[in-house]
C-alpha cells in the first residue's frame, strides 16, 4: 500500500474561478502532501464547493492548473480518479436501492472491490447496523449521509479524499466517528481536503487552512 513517502502530492497553481459574473477566488495556490489535512473555510457562496470540484477535476478552473504527482489532472483522467474519493454535497444515494446496495455501487464505480461482509462492517461502523437491507427511501437525512460516508471505511487504499461538508446533517456521535476515520486515514499517510463549518478536531501531522474570503 501507499507509504508516507510514496503518497503523491496534490498541487494547485494560481487557481482563478469566475462563476457567472462573480469572481469567487483568484491567485490561489497550495500544495498538499501525504498525511496533511487541508481545511477550506469560508462563508456560504464563497466558492468552497467550486474549489473542491476544481481539485477533483469536475470543474474547469477559469485559469490555473492542478497537478497530481507532478502531472496535470486534466491529462491523468481515470489514473487520478482511481486514487480519489470525492463525496460531494449530494449523497449519490438512490432511494430505490438499499443502503448496502448503494454502498456496493459507489465502491464498484470507484474501482474498489468489496465483499458483503465488509460492507455491513462499514455500515455498522457508521452506526447503521441493521439498516443495510432497508431501502434508502426509509432512511433519515442523517442516515443517508452516513451511508455515503461509509464509503470512507472501505477506501483506506485511496491516497486522496475530498469531502464537501462531510459533517452536515450528522449527529455528534457520527461526527466523531467520521473524524476518527479521517484521522486514521491521515496517519496512514494519505491526504484529505474538506470543507466544514465546525471546528473539526482532527489530529494530523499538519493541518492547513485556506480562508476563501482572505484570498
Amino acid at each position: 500500500m501507499e507509504k508516507k513517502t510514496g503518497t503523491p502530492s496534490l498541487e494547485a497553481v494560481d487557481l482563478h474561478c469566475v462563476r457567472g459574473e462573480r469572481r469567487l477566488f483568484g491567485a490561489l495556490s497550495f500544495t498538499l502532501r501525504g498525511g496533511e489535512l487541508l481545511r477550506i473555510a469560508g462563508d456560504n457562496g464563497s466558492g468552497k464547493t467550486s474549489l473542491l470540484r476544481i481539485a477533483c477535476g469536475l470543474l474547469e478552473a477559469t485559469s490555473g492548473e492542478v497537478f497530481w504527482a507532478g502531472e496535470d489532472i486534466r491529462r491523468l483522467h481515470e489514473e487520478f480518479w482511481r486514487q480519489l474519493v470525492y463525496i460531494g454535497h449530494a449523497n449519490a444515494i438512490k432511494d430505490d436501492l438499499t443502503a448496502a446496495e448503494n454502498l456496493h455501487v459507489a465502491c464498484t464505480l470507484a474501482g474498489v472491490r468489496t465483499q458483503p461482509a465488509r460492507i455491513s462492517e462499514a455500515l455498522r461502523l457508521l452506526g447503521l447496523a441493521g439498516c443495510g437491507h432497508l431501502p434508502a427511501r426509509a432512511l433519515s437525512q442523517g442516515q443517508r449521509r452516513r451511508t455515503a460516508l461509509a464509503r470512507l471505511a472501505l477506501s483506506e487504499a485511496m491516497p486522496l479524499w475530498i469531502l464537501d461538508e462531510p459533517f452536515a446533517a450528522l449527529d455528534a456521535v457520527a461526527v466523531e466517528q467520521v473524524q476518527n476515520l479521517i484521522a486514521e486515514h491521515l496517519s496512514r499517510g494519505a491526504a484529505v481536503i474538506l470543507t466544514t463549518h465546525l471546528e473539526a478536531k482532527i489530529t494530523a501531522s499538519a493541518v492547513r487552512r485556506i480562508d476563501l474570503e482572505a484570498t
Partner: protein, 222 residues
C-alpha cells in the same frame, strides 16, 4: 473495469424493476398509439397493410423519445452522475453500459411486443421477422443518438422540448431506413438492403455515440 460496467447495468435494471411504472408508461404509450390507428383509419385490410410499417416505426420512435430524458436525469439529480464522472472506468464505457441498460428497459420491450401489434394491421405473418429485426437493429440506434441529446440538455430548463428538436432530425434517417425495411418486406422485396444499412448504422453509433455523450456529460455538469 468489467465489474463496474456490469454493476451499472445491473443497478439500472434493478432500479427499473423497483420502479416499473416508468417502463410500463413507455410500453403502454407504444401499444396505445399503434392500436388507435386501425380504429381511426377503418378496417380496410389493404390500407392497414400499407401503413403498418410506418405507423409501428413512428410509434416506436416517439416512445423511445419519451423515455430519453430519464437516461441521465435522476443520476444528475441525486449526485450519482458525479461519482460516475469520477469513476475508475473510462467514462465512454460507463455511458455505453448505461445506454445498453436504457435500451433493455425502454427499447427491447417495444421490439418484443411489436409482432402482436403488427397482427392488428394484417401484417403478413411470414414477414414479421423483418419487422422485428428492423426494430431490434433500429431502436438501439435511437437510444444511442438520443443519449447524446440527453447528455447535452441535462439540467437545462425546458430541456425536454430542446431535446426533441435536437434529436428529431437525427432520428429521421433511422426512421426512413427502418420503416423502409418493413415496407419492402410487406411488398415482397425482402428488405435485406435496409437491414444491412441499419446494422451499419448501429455499429457506427455504438462506436461513436457513447464517447460523444461522455464529452457532452462533462460539459453539461460543469
Amino acid at each position: 473495469m468489467l465489474a463496474a460496467l456490469r454493476c451499472v447495468i445491473h443497478r439500472d435494471l434493478l432500479l427499473a424493476a423497483r420502479r416499473s411504472s416508468d417502463v410500463l408508461t413507455v410500453l403502454l404509450f407504444f401499444v396505445i398509439v399503434v392500436s388507435l390507428f386501425p380504429l381511426g383509419v377503418g378496417p380496410d385490410p389493404a390500407l392497414l397493410r400499407t401503413i403498418a410499417p410506418g405507423v409501428i416505426w413512428v410509434a416506436a420512435l416517439l416512445a423511445s423519445m419519451l423515455a430519453l430524458h430519464r437516461m441521465f436525469a435522476s443520476d444528475h439529480a441525486d449526485g450519482t452522475l458525479e461519482q460516475i464522472l469520477l469513476g475508475a472506468t473510462p467514462l465512454g464505457m460507463t455511458v455505453a453500459a448505461k445506454i445498453l441498460a436504457h435500451w433493455l428497459i425502454s427499447g427491447l420491450p417495444l421490439v418484443l411486443i411489436s409482432p402482436v401489434l403488427a397482427l392488428q394491421f394484417d401484417f403478413p405473418r411470414e414477414r414479421l421477422g423483418v419487422l422485428i429485426l428492423s426494430l431490434a437493429l433500429g431502436t438501439p440506434v435511437l437510444s444511442l443518438i438520443g443519449a447524446i441529446g440527453a447528455a447535452l440538455t441535462l439540467g437545462l430548463r425546458g430541456g425536454g422540448a430542446l431535446l426533441s428538436l435536437l434529436i428529431l432530425p437525427l432520428y429521421v434517417p433511422v426512421l426512413i431506413i427502418g420503416a423502409g425495411a418493413a415496407e419492402a418486406a410487406v411488398s415482397g422485396l425482402g428488405g435485406q438492403a435496409q437491414l444491412l444499412l441499419l446494422g451499419a448504422l448501429l455499429v457506427f453509433a455504438w462506436a461513436f455515440a457513447p464517447w460523444a455523450a461522455a464529452v457532452a456529460l462533462r460539459i453539461s455538469t460543469e
